[in-house]
Each structure stands twice: as structure tokens, then as C-alpha cells.
């Protein structure tokens, strides 16, 4: 490979990124028009521009209901889905990089179990202290508390290996899962709410959710890109990366906390949605190679597209709304098996 060919590779990545960005924007507009009330993409754009810029002339002649449906009902949900998809994919890149394991995902360290435990607790105990945000806040607190316990369990003498992290995550996750089962057993009418929450949903999302998720995810993406090259080098193992001038222990901790915070925000906004964080980095690595700086950006875009597609299918295409977490697992699971088999046969370079 020469400088010219590496230049060409960068150009290819840049055009792929542009393509995905345009696809994401197109998909947002298109899916906003889909649903019980159909709205043409042109009308969607006119409503959005009218609301944002304030030029009332643009939406003249459109049903005034459109403005409400687009801006207050559909767009918050759609944007939340896209941002959470991006966030989960970025977390996947981070966790796979830190744990040196292409099969890790944002939930490997028990983050999801912690969030689920917190949410279940809030639902069972009927906590209404923070209004509608009680459950998300408890989920967030559960995720962070779990992370702290896992970090404590896996750190020894200032060292922290990928294996001890995964083991600690599995142990803590198992304990929490038992706790959740117990709460489901104890709960009466709330058991349906717990199950509903655990399966994830974007129904009834507000602009607050969008902003919160956007803030966390863009911060996470920025950190991932900033430490991208360090993360590449860390895939050589701690002893090698130290000798190459990377402060492995510090970078690992920063990225671990960043990834967990983003995952915690995503889970508390949307419930538990699996497989996005696992599959998207895999797919992108197959397309553009394992360089984490590119991978983080492209995975964010692709994750947004994928989760938005899945949410649109369950919201507007299927006759009954299937919980989004179930849908992503049903589509993602078999797809992952396929990738896994291909890898085993040595065809893919994941």
C-alpha cells in the first residue's frame, strides 16, 4: 500500500460516510410521513422548515394537524430512535475495542441488567418522585451503580484486564438478573409494565429525550474519535500499547466510562435494545476495516439508520406494534449467526 492508495481508502470512507448521512436524513423525512396519517416527504419538509424558521407561508394549504403530527408526535420518536441507534453502535465499537473482543456489546459489562434492575425497582415500588422521569432516572442510576461495582471488582493493583472485566460483568449481571426475576415474581399488576419496559420502546418520546440522547451520544462519539488511534494500538495488548506511548490504563478507563454513560443514557431513554451494538460495528469493520476512528463515525450513522428502520417497521408497517427490542433481536440474531459462520469459514475479515 502506498500513500496514494491510503489516500484512496480515505476517500472511499468519506464517500461512504456521506452516503450514509444522506440516507439517514432521507429516512428521517420519509419515515416521518409514514403511519396512520400519511404525509408526503415534501409536506414533511415544509412543515419542519415552517416550524424551525417560522415562515408560515410554507405550510399554507396543509392540514394544520400535520404540523402537530410531524413535530410533536413522530419526529421526537424518530430522532430518538436514530440517536439511540447511533449511540448503541458507538458503544459497541468502544466495548469491542476495550475488551479486545469482537463479540462484546454495550451490555457485556452488565450495564443493561443494572438499568433493568433500576427500572424494575422504580416500577415495583411505584416510585413517582421524579414524575415521568422516575423510571429512566432509576434505570440510569442502576446502570452507573453496576458499572462502579464491575470496575471495583475487576481492578487490582491499578491493573484491569479485559478478561477480569468481562467476568465481573457476567457475575454482576447474573446477580441482577436474579433480582429482576424476584421482583417480577413479587409484582402484581406492575409485572406487565416491567416486561414492557425491558423489551424497549420509542413510543411517546419527547424532545427532551431527543436532546438528552443527542447530547450523550455526540459527546461519546467525540471521545471515541479523539482516542480512536489509541484504541487501535490497544488492540495489540496492554504491554505493547504502553511501549508505543499509549497510556493504556487511563485511556481504557476513560473509554469504559464514556461507553457506559452513553449506554446508560440510551437504555434509560428507550429500554433494552440488543444486537445493534454488536452487529453494526461488525458490518462496518467488514466494509472499511478495523480503524476505530473511521469505525466510530460510520457505525454511528449506520446504527442510526438500522434502528430507525426497525422502529419504522414496527410503528408504521407491521399491523401490530412489536416491541423494538424483540424486533432487533429477531432480525439481528439470525443475521449475526450468518456473519459468525462466515467468519468461521474465514471469508469475512471481521
Amino acid at each position: 500500500m502506498t500513500l496514494q492508495s491510503s489516500h484512496n481508502a480515505s476517500k472511499r470512507v468519506a464517500s461512504l460516510a456521506l452516503l450514509l448521512l444522506l440516507a439517514l436524513i432521507g429516512l428521517v423525512v420519509l419515515s416521518t410521513g409514514l403511519g396512520f396519517i400519511r404525509i408526503s416527504p415534501g409536506a414533511v419538509l415544509r412543515v419542519i422548515v415552517e416550524r424551525v424558521v417560522g415562515d408560515t407561508g410554507l405550510a399554507a394549504g396543509l392540514d394544520p394537524l400535520f404540523s402537530y403530527v410531524v413535530m410533536d408526535v413522530r419526529l421526537p420518536r424518530i430522532l430518538t430512535a436514530a440517536v439511540v441507534g447511533a449511540g448503541l453502535a458507538v458503544c459497541g465499537v468502544l466495548f469491542q475495542g476495550i475488551l479486545l473482543n469482537p463479540l462484546a456489546d454495550p451490555y457485556t459489562l452488565g450495564i443493561s441488567s443494572g438499568a433493568a434492575f433500576g427500572a424494575s425497582l422504580a416500577l415495583v415500588a411505584n416510585v413517582t418522585l421524579f414524575g415521568v422521569y422516575s423510571v429512566p432516572l432509576f434505570a440510569f442510576a442502576g446502570a452507573i451503580a453496576t458499572l462502579l461495582v464491575v470496575l471495583y471488582l475487576s481492578s487490582f493493583d491499578g491493573q484491569m484486564s479485559a478478561n477480569t472485566l468481562i467476568l465481573s460483568g457476567v457475575i454482576v449481571g447474573a446477580i441482577l438478573a436474579a433480582g429482576i426475576s424476584f421482583m417480577k415474581y413479587m409484582a402484581d399488576e406492575q409485572v406487565a409494565m416491567i416486561i414492557y419496559w425491558l423489551m424497549g420502546s420509542f413510543a411517546a418520546k419527547s424532545w427532551t429525550d431527543v436532546l438528552l440522547a443527542l447530547l450523550a451520544v455526540s459527546a461519546g462519539l467525540a471521545v471515541a474519535v479523539f482516542y480512536g488511534r489509541d484504541l487501535n494500538i490497544m488492540s495489540l495488548g496492554g504491554r505493547s500499547s504502553d511501549s508505543l506511548g499509549v497510556e493504556t490504563a487511563r485511556v481504557r478507563k476513560i473509554l469504559l466510562i464514556t461507553g457506559s454513560l452513553v449506554a446508560a443514557v440510551c437504555v434509560s431513554v428507550s429500554g433494552i435494545i440488543g444486537f445493534i451494538g454488536l452487529i453494526v460495528p461488525h458490518l462496518m469493520r467488514f466494509l472499511i476495516g478495523p480503524d476505530n476512528r473511521r469505525l466510530a463515525v460510520l457505525s454511528a450513522l449506520a446504527g442510526g439508520i438500522l434502528l430507525l428502520c426497525a422502529d419504522t417497521v414496527t410503528r408504521a408497517v407491521l399491523p401490530v406494534e412489536v416491541p423494538i427490542g424483540v424486533l432487533t433481536a429477531l432480525i439481528g440474531g439470525p443475521f449475526f449467526c450468518y456473519i459468525f459462520r462466515r467468519r468461521q469459514r474465514g471469508i469475512a475479515h471481521g
Binding site: 500500500m1 502506498t2 500513500l3 491510503s6 479486545l100 473482543n101 469482537p102 479523539f226 488511534r229 487501535n232 494500538i233 488492540s235 495489540l236 495488548g237 504491554r239 505493547s240 504502553d242 511501549s243 508505543l244 506511548g245 499509549v246 497510556e247 469493520r285 476495516g289 478495523p290 480503524d291 474465514g346 475479515h349 471481521g350
Partner: protein, 262 residues
């Protein structure tokens, strides 16, 4: 910065209760090929980790070129010292060139890309170790010997005055082993670099090393020029086996024979 190499002054290190290095005093001067020899678990790798500043001594201090090691920043140190570890696993399909270019990391600004110079250095390093045509292959698809040469090329691309080999060839056949040691030897001869290699094979140590450091149970049992330290008495003391050390005409180096099989 005066090029005085390493001064190891009364250094101790322990893993928990287990004493790994005990009151070590050594000087490692630039431009020599050092062999670090001793039984398994005698503290050789620990000593390399301390010299790389991957670990800190529990007591004593290590100076490099007149400055205490802990005063160096990570990146600064990575421009001085390179390490070839014994085992190398990589879980992601980077190309060989990408891995070798990682050796340039300590020289690149955070958001800067590798320049033409960096690429030239990487290609030169790959050519030196005989993997010039590997650039676009995936490291995940290489054999053990090929992978190890990639790691050596990466360390060479770091262009450091000191190169450390931690049993870098223990899994390799004699041909690949010689290839790696020849390149290391060449760096010492032509560029005045320092090589510190953990070696198990005493004949290999005799053939390549200017100086030998014998470690036993965390202490220096003997150190000095190979001709003076590689003796049956020292081998008996360190490894507990009887041996004969003689000059071999074919290799033009000392050779150690043992009475195998009791």
C-alpha cells in the same frame, strides 16, 4: 541529553508477597547487545517491564540517560525504547502495514495522519525483516513466525535507540530466529543502538550478545562480557546443571554442551 544508557540502582520489585527482583544494581551502556539469561521465573520479564516503565520499582531507582525513568512521559519514552513481546495476539483484522505504522504513533500528532516519511520508515522496517511484500495482508491470517516478524518490524519502525526483545523468538524455528537476531545485531553495529534480549538458548546468547546478565531468584548472579561470564561455573550456579563451554569454529562463537538424558 547524555547518552549514558540505564543505571539501575538498588531496585526491588514484588508481586504481592512474592519478591521478583531484589536489590538489583546494573549499568546498561549504549551500543551493546545485552543478553538477559536465567531460569524461568527469575525476574527477566519483570526487569524488562521496569526498564520499559510499564511497572515501577518498589524500591530503588532506574535512570535512563541521566534522568529518572518516571520523569519521562509515555510518548517521550516510546521514542527511546521499543519492546517486542513474546506473545502477540490481535483480534481485529488490521493489515500488516497498519500494524507496522502503529510504531510511528509516538511521533504523530493526535489528529495527524502518517506522512510519506512514516510510510517510508515502515516499509524500510518491513524490508529489513523480510516481510516487504506483506503490506496488505491481514495480521489475523499470518502464521506465528510471520506475526512475530510483523511485531519486530513495528518495533524497528519506532526508530528507538533501545530495542528490547522479550523471548521474542522462543516460538520460532532457527531460520526465523536468526533473521530477527541478525537485524537486531545489525542495528547495534551500524547505528550504535542498544539491544536487551531475554534469551533462553545459551548458544544463541553466546553467538549474538556482547554482554550477558545472569539473573537468579531476582538477583544478579553474574554480568559482564560474554567471553568472561559464560562459564561452566556460572551456568552451574544459575541453572544447576553441569556443562562444557568451548569455542566452536563453525559458528565462531562459544558453544555450551550439556550431558542430556542423565
Amino acid at each position: 541529553m547524555a547518552e549514558t544508557g540505564f543505571v539501575i540502582d538498588r531496585v526491588s520489585f514484588a508481586y504481592g508477597e512474592k519478591q521478583a527482583l531484589d536489590d538489583l544494581r546494573l549499568a546498561i551502556v549504549p551500543g551493546r547487545f545485552y543478553g538477559l539469561v536465567g531460569p524461568n521465573g527469575c525476574g527477566k520479564s519483570t526487569l524488562l517491564d521496569l526498564l520499559m516503565a510499564n511497572r515501577r520499582p518498589a524500591a530503588g531507582r532506574i535512570e535512563y540517560n541521566g534522568r529518572c525513568l518516571r520523569q519521562y512521559g509515555r510518548r517521550e519514552l516510546a521514542r527511546q525504547l521499543a519492546l517486542v513481546p513474546q506473545e502477540f495476539t490481535i483480534h481485529f483484522a488490521f493489515t500488516v502495514l497498519e500494524v507496522v505504522l502503529m510504531g510511528r504513533h509516538p511521533y504523530l500528532p493526535r489528529f495527524g495522519a502518517a506522512t510519506g516519511d512514516d510510510l517510508a520508515i515502515a516499509h524500510q522496517a518491513m524490508a529489513a525483516i523480510g516481510i516487504g511484500d506483506f503490506a496488505d495482508r491481514y495480521v489475523t491470517e499470518l502464521s506465528g513466525g510471520e506475526k512475530q516478524r510483523v511485531v519486530v518490524a513495528r518495533a524497528l519502525a519506532q526508530e528507538t535507540p533501545v530495542l528490547m526483545l522479550d523471548e521474542a523468538t522462543s516460538n520460532l524455528d532457527v531460520g526465523h530466529t536468526m533473521e530477527i537476531f541478525n537485524v537486531a545485531r545489525q542495528r547495534v553495529r551500524e547505528r550504535g543502538e542498544t539491544v536487551i534480549a531475554v534469551v533462553h538458548n545459551l548458544d544463541l546468547a553466546a553467538a549474538y550478545c556482547d554482554e550477558l546478565i545472569f539473573l537468579k531468584e531476582g538477583r544478579v548472579a553474574a554480568c559482564g562480557p560474554t567471553r568472561e561470564t559464560l562459564t561452566p561455573a556460572v551456568i552451574e550456579e544459575v541453572f544447576g546443571v553441569a556443562s562444557r563451554v568451548s569455542h566452536d569454529d563453525f559458528s565462531n562463537a562459544l558453544q555450551v554442551s550439556f550431558r542430556y538424558g542423565g
